[in-house]
């Protein structure tokens, strides 16, 4: 997020929520958005489904799944032609405006409304509401990124913020809501093939030299492969060994049968986890680690806020601290790694990572106990950065880049006539490894289901609560129909938490060409009565 939750809740005049259902996926942000709305902040919801917050919204644009880029380009075009662009900001802080303006011209309100399946009037109202606000914030989530055109969607949305000068000031910005608790931190820490910690590039010789010096070994200089691309590489035999730390791709990754085949093709497979997950059952070695309540460390939340994780209890006997396990493996493989505590590891991170340069457990336990530290936090006296890009964009000025609108990789056809989207529900988390072990969560939400529009269900003779068969080109599951107008006709939605009727037997492993995120939000399915 460029801005902070408090800042948006207190200062935004308009919040535009795109492809995000915070009441279920980020519930406390959901509460805080309700708080903003009750203060008088306007709310624009851009989402195919009638999510809870849609009832509190001033405008709900039920765009067709997979048409975010068209929507955003259309907004930018409208903002410019309605005279709502912030000329000074565009002049002083951005580049490439003219080219962008020419590129979005073809995204007329009529064309966009038709493409996205929304009313022209609503699109115009949304542009006016967003464009006339003094402080307008965009919040978005996986509904934008989990598409083959996810990166394009983010770029196109950024243009909306940039063209109206809604960056680098209170109550505004581009604010991705990061899904899992430490997605932000894991990326920050260099768990990506191109990046050392702090997004320092693996291919930059100066950066590599710095890490080689501190770590005392020569480092590989070739470009690594992203996780979602590793599965095909396993089938091809290019990747033969996998060390999997605390994930359950058999349940959470798209196209389960493909994942199973890929893992089976490995020569050697290690899983480190708390439980014998579906994936761990396939491993050659399983190593029992420790959970967040058994260690000292930090998480970085969606606001870039680094906060402490503190040890509350000892781990079960027989398990070991994850850092201890890695240290053992490193030493046994010939790399001399001293055993370091969580606080000492953070000190090492700070020396190597400019954006984390001022972060230490000591500060987080002291002056920053309640507020944490938001990176960039470059030295021990730096207070952290609640709002990014205040006086200039990091590096250079903000450059407009306008993606073209490309349709989703798999569109409905005669055989598979429905669009399937997937997502989360309030009472569970991902593969339920944690939440599923609390009795109440499963009592409330324990089984898979699929949301179908009332008209479609009527045509198929399916009633609410009926068990039905759902198939895609990749697999078939049985699940329970939830019939309502929450989804539009032709569109359906399933949670991916549940092992019975897991939606990932159906989903499509088509990837975004930049981020390699799978297109969880759009695939084509058919629905049948059981016999």
């Amino acid at each position: 997020m460029t801005n902070s939750i408090d800042d948006i809740v207190e200062h935004a005049d308009v919040i535009m929520l795109v492809g995000s259902n915070p009441e279920e996926a980020h519930p406390v942000i959901g509460m805080r958005i309700r708080q903003a709305v009750e203060r008088g902040c306007r709310l624009i919801v851009v989402d195919p489904r009638r999510i809870g917050l849609a009832s509190k919204a001033d405008i709900h644009l039920r765009v067709r799944p997979g048409t975010n880029v068209a929507f955003a380009n259309g907004m930018v075009n409208l903002l410019i032609s309605l005279g709502l662009a912030d000329d000074e900001f565009v002049r002083e802080r951005t580049e490439g405006f003219r080219i962008m303006q020419a590129q979005v011209e073809e995204f007329t309100a009529d064309y966009v409304a038709r493409t996205c399946g929304i009313a022209v009037q609503d699109l115009v109202s949304a542009a006016k509401m967003y464009g006339t606000a003094r402080h307008a914030a965009i919040l978005y989530c996986l509904g934008v990124t989990e598409h083959t055109t996810g990166t394009d969607g983010v770029m196109a949305l950024s243009n909306i913020a940039m063209v109206t000068g809604n960056l680098g000031k209170p109550g505004s910005g581009m604010n991705p809501l990061r899904g899992q608790n430490n997605v932000q931190g894991a990326c920050d820490m260099g768990a990506g093939p191109d990046d050392y910690p702090g997004y320092q590039k693996v291919w930059d010789p100066k950066v590599r030299a710095k890490f080689e010096q501190t770590w005392g070994v020569e480092l590989p200089d070739w470009a690594g492969t992203k996780a979602t691309e590793c599965f095909p590489a396993m089938l091809e035999g290019k990747i033969k060994g996998l060390y999997l730390f605390g994930e359950d791709p058999v349940r959470t990754d798209p196209d389960t049968s493909h994942v199973l085949k890929s893992l089976a093709a490995l020569d050697f497979f290690v899983v480190q986890d708390l439980f014998l997950t579906e994936t761990a059952k396939l491993a050659d070695v399983v190593l029992p680690g420790r959970c967040y309540a058994e260690k000292e460390g930090t998480f970085t939340n969606t606001e870039r806020r680094v906060q402490r994780v503190r040890k509350a209890v000892e781990g079960p006997e027989g398990s070991r601290l994850d850092t201890e396990i890695f240290t053992e493996v490193m030493n046994r493989m010939g790399y001399v790694q001293p055993k370091l505590s969580g606080a000492e590891l953070m000190d090492e991170i700070a020396t190597l990572t400019p954006t984390y340069g001022g972060i230490s457990h000591a500060r987080l336990d002291g002056e920053a106990f309640d507020r944490g530290l938001q990176w960039p936090c470059t030295d021990a006296h730096h207070p952290g950065t609640p709002i990014m890009h205040i006086s200039s964009f990091s590096g250079s000025v903000g450059a407009f880049s306008t993606p073209d609108f490309i349709r989703s990789a798999e569109l409905p056809d005669d055989e598979y006539p429905f669009v399937l989207m997937t997502g989360r529900v309030l009472y569970q988390y991902n593969a339920c490894a944690m939440t599923g072990r609390t009795p109440g969560t499963s009592e409330i939400a324990g089984d898979s289901f699929i949301e179908i529009n009332t008209c479609d269900a009527g045509a198929l003779g399916i009633t609410d609560g009926e068990r039905i068969r759902v198939s895609s080109r990749r697999g078939t599951v049985e699940t329970t129909a939830r019939v309502s107008s929450k989804t539009n006709p032709g569109e359906t939605w399933m949670p991916f938490h549940f092992q019975d009727g897991n939606a990932n037997w159906l989903t499509h492993a088509a990837l975004d060409r930049v981020s390699k995120a799978p297109e969880y939000k759009v695939c084509a399915i058919k629905i049948e009565k059981l016999q």
Binding site: S4, H26, P27, R32, Q35, T145, G179, Q180, N181, A186, C187, M189, G190, A191, P193, V202, W215, G224, T225, A227, A233, I239, G241, Y243, L244, F245, G246, F268, D273, L274, F275, L276, D284, V285, V286, L287, P288, Y292, K295, G297, T298, F299, N301, E303, A312, V313, E314, D322, T323, R332, M333, Y335, Q337, G342, Y427, Y429, M434, T435, G440, I444
Partner: protein, 364 residues
Amino acid sequence: MHNIAINGEPVIAREGATILEAARKVGVRIPTLCFLKERSGVASCRVCVVEVEGEPYPVPACATPVRDGMEITTDSPKLAAYRKMALELILSSKGAALASLACEEGAEATELSKLCCELGVQVPADVDGTDALPVVEGNPFLSYDPNLCIECQRCVGACNAAARNHSLQSRMRGSHVLIDAPFGADWRATDCESCGNCAQACPTGALSLKSRRRSEAPVETPAGVQDAEARFVRTTCPHCGVGCQLELEVRDGRIVGARGAQGASNRSLLCVKGRSASYDFVSSPDRLTSPLVRSPETGELEPATWDEALDVVASRFTALRDECGGESIAAFACSRSTNEDVYLFQKMARTALRSNNIDSCARV
């Protein structure tokens, strides 16, 4: 700005501030019960009364704005007697269950019990009612026991002014406030999100988490770990990217509860996952307690010592690395684990596995 005096000390207070706010600002404690900052203040309990020079009776500090020249006394024998009486009235307003809260002590005691200790209030001899009202407990996480309710309406503030869910309301019947808690048999039909922020606000345990009752049953505790009373450990919720701050309640080496803490993103709020699903898995009986290695003979995963397992891992990866190159190995980190874990994991991948094929489940 107003110039006032609190217990004889000159204080400058903001225009429109209440006496309570002005006193808290300079570190003077006035006991409160029904008041909840920014969320609730119905000024019904009369525990926060103070004396104001020139006023015939004590006034509630939470609801009385300061005036220029006000002289305030926050502590005196007269006030102590007043507060004690107010609390005794509250304690005896229902049945024996509420009255008995007066004698509970310790870190886990309710706020009402702690206040009774502070003000020296004993279990009242006579109570007005019985404990006959039915407990509302359809919701799997939360219950409401009207027999313990002191009508302070803090829960109403928590649900409506903080969680902004508006599914818990109060209404008047005669001179009594009734709380409509959405936890009855029809709880599924309500908008309640089971977040439990109302229960965290409740000073008596009338609204409470069912898990609390479960945790009072004797449990097997890890050997050698005994806490005289509960400890609270401040940490960060393990579920979603909001990063809510919570306090895990630890008793006898086990986590038995979680409550919201004043973090920058959550302002004391939690959702159902943070409050009720953030710790049961920690002590789940199916946690792995031994490394497992697939046996070449049986083809099954079988328990092994750490030494054996780590040797297998190191030797197999070393062989792959040296024969086929680091390109042949991939390492996937977990976006749920700590920064320190992920940092060392990617360092291991790059320095020991000699691979840049490192990624996280960030896209999932």
